[in-house]
Symmetry: D2
Subunit: 357 residues, 4 copies
């Protein structure tokens, strides 16, 4: 019985279970199922296309991914240049620093008595615990690092580069900050003051009023200039929050100064929030198109699900399938050592937009 409707062309293929399947094959068999299973499989294919295309890939990470065991996946994505620029909440960088410094997060329960935890100074993140004492000690460690820096203003990008450098030099351990430092991947943290990283910086200021000046407005200019320089961009966002918006804002702000910028060409978001309450975290990629954050013909997919469930599978599958395209990729050569960063030797201002002539 032939189906002539143009809507009935590609049949759903039921997933067939087999022992010994690789993550790669599991995801391949999910490409023709439905709903969020299909979305995750599509995300892999779109990411591979980003890698094969000559574009700058932004990665946004919100939520408690570092505390939740995802930090070495993110480090892996930076190290192997699956992405070119990280935008993160402060919390993810702080919890990364915590573990890179040799501390741990612990398996806990979402139903523990929180008054008891408070009394024992255990901080809970859903089903995960950490020691408040160790957190306080981190804050002081950050403050002391800040006091070693020259007394001037730092973009969050420069500050985090130096923090990663210091962490690497003192620990030699793998993590997000250290991997970004070593791979030369810039990190922006637009809401740094809303995190324990910022708290640590403020404790340096407490000791010396001329210390701890972060230039978050410079971050806006620098990130937009990155887009102006290479207007072909892509975005991978885990969770919503400030990273999601900041990556889109860079594109919108860049377009204001240079109309060759036309929104991201590819977009993947793995998100648990929903569009119908109007918040940016849950906003759809279609909505992003109205703003020009995303090109009208972009390849895009939203995966509605928890990143701690989706990302391990997605990253494992990519590790198997994206080797070739990754080897052929020529990622942007950043120089992050100065107050002004550079791409391929050309400086990127944080004081002035590179407006089109």
């Amino acid at each position: 019985m032939p189906n002539k409707s143009r809507f009935l062309r590609v049949p759903v293929e039921p997933f067939v279970v087999e022992a010994g399947l690789g993550a790669d094959e599991v995801l391949a068999r999910m490409e023709r199922v439905s709903f969020q299973g299909r979305s995750l499989a599509t995300a892999r294919r779109i990411w591979e296309k980003m890698l094969a295309d000559d574009c700058t890939i932004f990665l946004g990470v919100a939520g408690a991914l570092s505390a939740g065991g995802m930090r070495l996946i993110i480090a892996h994505l930076l190290e192997h240049r699956y992405v070119d620029c990280l935008v993160s909440t402060g919390a993810n960088l702080y919890h990364d620093l915590h573990e890179t410094r040799g501390r741990r997060h612990f398996v806990g329960s979402p139903r523990e008595n929180d008054a008891v935890l408070q009394a024992e100074r255990i901080d809970r993140v859903y089903d995960t615990y950490a020691s408040e004492e160790e957190f306080c000690e981190n804050d002081e460690w950050i403050a002391e690092f800040v006091l070693t820096l020259e007394r001037r203003s730092y973009t969050s990008r420069e500050f985090l580069y130096r923090l990663g450098e210091h962490l690497w030099q003192t620990t030699g351990r793998d993590g997000i900050l250290t991997a970004a430092y070593r791979a030369g991947v810039p990190i922006f943290c637009p809401a740094i003051s809303d995190s324990s990283i910022g708290m640590g910086v403020s404790q340096a200021r407490h000791r010396d009023a001329s210390a701890g000046h972060i230039d978050v407005i410079g971050d806006i200019i620098e990130s937009a200039n990155l887009v102006i320089r290479h207007p072909r961009t892509a975005s991978v966002v885990l969770g919503g929050g400030t990273p999601k918006n900041f990556i889109n804002q860079a594109s919108v702000q860049a377009e204001f100064y240079d109309d060759r910028v036309g929104g991201h060409r590819y977009a993947i978001q793995i998100v648990t929030d929903v569009p119908h309450f109007g918040g940016a975290s849950g906003s759809s990629l279609e909505e992003a198109q109205s703003w020009g954050k995303l090109a009208a013909d972009a390849e895009q997919v939203t995966v509605h699900g928890d990143a701690t469930l989706a990302l391990p599978i997605l990253a494992s599958a990519l590790a198997s399938s994206a080797g070739e395209v990754l080897a052929a990729r020529q990622p942007l050569p950043f120089d992050l050592a100065g107050s002004e960063m550079a791409v391929g030797g050309r400086p990127v201002s944080h004081a002035r937009f590179e407006a089109r002539q």
Copy 2:
């Protein structure tokens, strides 16, 4: 730095990406991450414990899992006796029948113009399409099958067994209904009248008023008797809806007649709904303990996520890791051919509860 707190014993282990990992290993590495990733990994271990223990495992399936490409996973779970009894919505059985009869569901888009789809008689399930014409034809096929049956009342369990038998004899194809028939696994469909299966049955009644009598009250008694007979039970629920509640109700009703029944010993639910709106679909497994649906010391886990994303990985991992425990398992030997089913030769009434003497 030793942590003496009893809350800080088991550290989170960050997931390490590697090429070539099997689904099995991916899930193993997720056991010490956090949030829903950890929950999915825990679900695998609890399911293995169910299989190793001598208990009757109920599987509940709601949502549009068959249309969404999950039906051969469910068939696989029945065939290999990962579970002993299926409770399903009518929709999942109907969409299974549709494909077993050689029709297909199709890859679509959630953003298509639905007025256009209506005009072309394409039925949409989020991102998946089907032909309304083919659905109408299924309904008539079901009606014709019903008219071949003896004119008496059938529990949904008996009716679905006969439907599976007829499907197998006429198609020889794999699917949920045919796998259940061949593996001798009972299927209950408590809301059969709220589905296209029920619509097909009603079309038989239209032609002959003495046809199409389904005894859903008999289902209550039969399912509770299964629990009374083997009070050690476990529950795996995909989605919420009537299957989730019916599996719990069987336990509660059984306990009313026999106080040796003490709730499920193990429970897994993969669910997207949440507890705080009070509905049964999203209710927590803790709440189920207050009712005695679940033993107070049961091993249990809730995975908050879409089954189309979680189930392929979970089933693939189990296929690799559960072989041995599955081989050693001695599942309940059901005889489903009669109006009264039997377990190990002993009939199970659908008219009278097996009250404890």
Copy 3:
């Protein structure tokens, strides 16, 4: 500054707070805000249009609305004929019966220790408690009522009418079942076997095998015939589950036999589930249009929120604003006393669809 874009015609009007506002006025001021606030205000206007139009209004109620304090709102909607036909889960009818019989649900906490509750035989529904003992006693009360009935098959519609009658005669108290009985509003309960109502019926069967036969297939035919008789229909759905689908199924099944049926003309749903996991509970009203469950030009709105929050305001506002249109309304005159119901004196079969000649 005139905006010429056709998209920028109706400005958002910020809500202005004032002391002494009626629910009516609050909702009126929400009509030009955004997101779910606007949706709720729109729901009121659409409901008023339903009432002003000559259409049959179906109300679907899922979730734990009766236990949650909403049962007298639903009773009010039936009594004043804001709606013409109720489709309910068994739970909502059972918890209604519990209170109509003089028992209570109790204010509790979602964080109580469920093992303690189990030991004290307290059943928890999120933040609400009930006595398991009283529930068991209800089940027996239902069983005894069933044993007073003639030994034949009953549609859920007829059975619930008789149950409401018995409740009214023995208690004289207001509630869903008693209001439906008194107002002559039919109630369908497609998943009656998946509820404590069904459990009570099964306990009658246990005592007398010829008792407790519910004809849920007859419900399909009767509900579709209601639509065929008056093809102009509307749907108000609180939650998803079987009521939502059954109301839509009635329309689809009716259209199969009579092509003058073209889907609901108006639709309101207040729902917490979301579309992107593919389940029917969260499915969008647009999706319903592809199936023809909803007319392509229907006026419709989805309110994403908890009914216990939205319904009290919506019903209070309607009570103030819909008086006139309600007074002018001529609701369908049902006669529910027989095995076959009648509308305006003309019987409605539950054995045969009223196919168009």
Copy 4:
């Protein structure tokens, strides 16, 4: 039949519908229903207790509340000192500025074709539209305002005070920024660089490299000092995001320097996100207790729902019921005119924490 269980003391009271009920009475009748309806009613009572107690009340606003028609409610809460300090996303302040400047947001549809909107330069926020051209013009207006300021660093608090002042002087219109200016309520915007406010500031920097320096680290110190000065605090949070965390962080950072600080004494959150994905936006108030963000014995409630639905009712009810307690309240007298703010004449440093002696 007396219920002796301690769990069965306070019965649920079904909501009784009546014409002419005020928002106040509707909420009063919702106090003994269940689920989120009860939560909203509880939120009103807790807010009244905050007002009657001598505590500093922080209000956090995330999401797109200003675009969504909630800005005059927030202005009302500031003007009448239902709260003492606002923490906001940049977007809410920007959309407020947009309307205070006489522009509008527009009623739209979530299903419009976004490529068409992009072509017409219409920006969509779910079901609401705005003109991109007007947004660009706002950004320039902000840049010009920034260029009028002295060339030094400004905390977001000082900057927003001056922006409110300028807006009031140039427009004389009511809104969040102008109400805060007039009522002397400080506003913090920790993620100012992640918003169009920040984009406007960056455009000033583009013209003059010495302009547009925002000291977000100073905000951390200033906000913590507010808590140290008056350690009895309360928190009302709409949505999650940076405002929610920043309000909690102020308490945690304050406690680091002064152990008399013991977490908020009262907390209300109206939130659509959920705890089980581990993100801070959805985190429970219980979890906040483990961190000491909230006192272990705090009165607290979470309302799971959209603020555009819940806030109009809550604010309307409070306007009716809280008049007396509000009149008796003696809110903190802030002086916001200087680079250093003051409370009751005593300056509050943004360079040094007020550590306990």
